[in-house]
Point group: C2
Chain length 254, copies 2
């Protein structure tokens, strides 16, 4: 039979595409996971009401042991609901390959994604973004280097960097202020002049909702600021075209 | 009043989000443009039928002289329908800023985008993509350098490059074969060893449709191949993680 990866999109249950909703309604069984991406404006219940079906919510562990999902998909039309565009996470790619190995027909129904929404909300041009990275919580008092390295490479070429903020399975998320603090910690350890407290960064909040937030300010100010209406994503700009500067200036909220 | 930029998403009229469809139905007047992005699986008529309203289709020229749209949006709830995620094009950013200058309330309803769909369909990781670029038709017998430069920068750092294929306002599009021919022309002119006819590239076709195409082959073979079921996008891979290699190998069609 078949496994449909259905993107839930960005913010709430109505972010799903019309096709995604149709296919989900037509599935014999529905699973979902919310650990790679969370729909902040919606509950499992809201999604179940829209689709008019029960949804079984899976932990990371259960998705990674893909057998549960694939076995069901061998026998029936199974939908797997995922926030954003569903093939962003490696876990889902693994699940897809396992399904193909077992002759299950796989289909992807795309969803809206923060990858294009955040640059769009900020008025920045997508083709000027270098590779993205994730700012994570410190592990054993160490600040991971991957976000710093991405910003360094990108800024060196004038490119913007999209920085995801760590999301833990219990729903705990890294705030933009903490994320920037950790990033500055690495900047200091590396004795880098890449960015400093006066560097202007962009915080995009609640992309896909009816009241997205766009804060544009110096890092020093952003570190002091309360961000308490998640989800957020950070952009460290590279060289700004004057039209981008104009856009940031007009679109930002105070 | 208000201007709603509504993303139509990737392939046909059902790619629109449930919220996008609701808001579009609620608009007093609907415009659309199909020169920055085309819905291959749909006609204007199909979209009008789904939304149950008439849609006025605008040329690039009319969108760029934004006054027509903004004047209407001063008086009524106006929807502007755009393929993909609607803020990707600079023209739309300009229109948005003009609307804000004239105190029109602007809202963005996101759509699915080739930026995440193509990597996802190919099983490649989004965070390993560097900046993207567009392969264009030659101008005055010159082959533009921008795609080459993006591939050069990205590949030098092991990153993948997403290459858009030029779309002309009359609907004429650059095929993957022609695009790769032009790219190899630049490689020869630059006497670069960046890529050669044996380099493996990825062509993604009809992303968002029920039969997306994924061709993975050497450039020499891709140049000879017929690609006649558009739209297409090219990926020039950087260093492949062994899981990405496995994915490409399992997912590719012969």
């Amino acid at each position: 039979m078949s496994l449909y990866f259905i993107g839930l999109g960005l913010y709430d249950e109505k972010s799903i595409s019309v096709r995604g909703l149709e296919e989900a309604k037509d599935c014999d069984k529905l699973f979902a996971e919310f650990y790679t991406s969370k729909l902040m404006g919606s509950s499992l219940n809201d999604i179940e009401n829209l689709i008019d079906s029960e949804i079984i919510c899976l932990s990371r562990d259960k998705v990674e042991r893909s057998d549960l999902i694939v076995s069901e998909a061998e026998e029936a039309k199974v939908g797997f609901l995922v926030g954003g565009d569903p093939m962003i996470s490696t876990t889902h790619v693994d699940l897809r390959l396992d399904a193909i190995d077992r002759d299950v027909d796989v289909r992807i129904i795309h969803g809206t994604s923060i990858y294009t929404a955040a640059p769009g909300l900020a008025g920045l041009q997508n083709y000027k973004f270098g590779r993205s990275a994730t700012l994570t919580f410190p592990r054993n008092d160490k600040y991971p280097r991957s976000a710093f390295n991405a910003v360094k490479e990108n800024r060196g070429r004038g490119l913007h960097t999209l920085l995801f903020l760590d999301l833990e399975e219990d729903g705990n998320f890294l705030s933009p202020s903490e994320g920037l603090e950790y990033l500055m910690e690495v900047v200091r350890e590396e004795k880098s002049d890449l960015i400093n407290l006066e560097t202007v960064c962009v915080v995009v909040g609640r992309a896909g909702s009816s009241d997205p937030e766009l804060v544009v300010d110096e890092i020093g100010e952003l570190i002091e600021r309360d961000f308490n209406q998640p989800m957020y994503i950070l952009i460290v700009p590279g060289d700004l075209h004057f039209r981008e500067e104009e856009a940031l200036d007009k679109l930002k909220q105070v």
